[in-house]
Symmetry: C2
Subunit: 343 residues, 2 copies
Amino acid sequence: MKTINVALLGFGSVGQSFAQLLLEKREEIEKKYDTTVNVVAITTKTRGNLVDAWGIDLERVLKNIQDTGVFPKMSETMLQRNSLDVAEAVEYDVLVEMTPLEFATGQMATDHVKAALKRGKHVICANKGPLAWHYKELEALAKENNCKFLFETTVMDGTPVFSIVRENLKMCQVTEIRGILNSTTNYILQGLEMGKTCKEIVAEGKRRGFIEANPKNDVEGNEAAAKVAVLANVLMGAELTPDDVEITGIEDITKERIDEAAARGNVIKLICRVYEKDGKIYGKVSPEEISRLNAYATVTGTSLVISITTDLMGTMTIIEESPETEQTGYGIFADLLTVIEDM
Amino acid sequence: MKTINVALLGFGSVGQSFAQLLLEKREEIEKKYDTTVNVVAITTKTRGNLVDAWGIDLERVLKNIQDTGVFPKMSETMLQRNSLDVAEAVEYDVLVEMTPLEFATGQMATDHVKAALKRGKHVICANKGPLAWHYKELEALAKENNCKFLFETTVMDGTPVFSIVRENLKMCQVTEIRGILNSTTNYILQGLEMGKTCKEIVAEGKRRGFIEANPKNDVEGNEAAAKVAVLANVLMGAELTPDDVEITGIEDITKERIDEAAARGNVIKLICRVYEKDGKIYGKVSPEEISRLNAYATVTGTSLVISITTDLMGTMTIIEESPETEQTGYGIFADLLTVIEDM
């Protein structure tokens, strides 16, 4: 039986979902791949850090987090190291980057990823930052060091997007990408249409757990723009940063504006676009009027949609229906299985 | 440079699209996979057969078909062999089964596939018949002989469905499948809604080339039922034949019935379902009322949709937008690349 050692940076709801899957599927992985997955480090901002070369007891960790919100006291393994120390110094085979997104720079996540790739370690990155700001460099680093660099969850949670283009649309050139990729704004627009105030909608979304404490970056389109940059860079070979994306948020969308659109048989959605013009790749995020007869008009709640157009296969549209945190956890899990399959 | 020898059974519009892709991508395949694809046999019902171990000149064949409708006179290679003879006796590495579907039995296609697998040859099957009627047996035969048995185009043309479950939804258990999988009936229902008569709609569809000479099997739901059986067998481990699928066609759907549904805010679609109940897998094809607010209501023209629900990833819905024959050709091409990648 082989062992694969995994270090987790960040352990929020997604990290916990991933850990839960590792527990549930432990036997199946051992049986199918003759491999044991060993989590050797978990770092967090506020819950403490765990490092244990023998493998951390995930069941105990998850239970303790549920009960107390912090890690169990395992004094011998509890270190004062930060995430970068772990990325640079701990012995692992795969680094899973799940720290919170820093919009302006894509840091510290980028440094974590670089540190791992330079050491020849595989990286699974759930953080859009490194891809939105430094994809080309990181991809080259991964190639140079013969490492896997996977990031399925950065767009549409666990729904396969990058892996579909990589594995299933072989030899196809992506010529255009479109999507509704930010659920917070989609949810707010839907609420406005129903006559609720923005404040009410955000409060409800927070209560239900899918709107962040400060949804400014969602509302202003920055979160969607980061995804646009990732898609442009990975699938269309661009070198865009979020700063290069033309962004209009939904701050100025009013109930009146929505009613006007409705009178024309349309709804307003925050649409992400990546497209080519005169040999250059552009990214755009802006509210657009969409016909009620278009599939995009039916994407509501926390559902998301992406359309990928290629030279050989035309347009394929994928709707992720009402995803939960578990789906993002699965996306990381699927990336890990891809690493295991190739080891 | 490796050589992979391919035999094509059937050479209608899909076969020609596939051949066109082989021509266009010849250099790219050679460069990427260090492999030359050699078509060593093409059999047809009415156009004659070609067998040439040195490789058939596809450019010449395609041009000749365009110009004359039959194969060029290459007397030395033109044989009186039928498809089964070719499957059984010609030297090839991959058999591509593209003969017309025989609804009642899945023959002769099943015999072609069996003959190839027994000889240890890989099979790409674009024909639903063998999968709808004999999947379990053929899958076992492929395993026993260590062959690839691929069939991406049998459902949703070239859109990845089987390969997504196989490659991208690793370790997920499919728990339910739903879809609009027959474009002829979807197109007819849409036309009826617009007030056209069935006769007019079918005539128009035939003129535009996507409704078959005799659409009886489409209208009565048999074509959709064959797809339901394939999906149930491949993705949910069932042993259904089309005879086991509960089928209601659209023969009795009238403009009045559609208007009644419209008054309730609904449209009528021919929905395919595969589901589990009390540990048994069921297949069903029937007209259903779908809310206009559902993505399925927006699937019109020749577009198709499938929703795959799994234990770990919830529901993922894939819309294939206005496919052409080229997309089916691509599906076969992608299956061939999968074979090449593994050789």
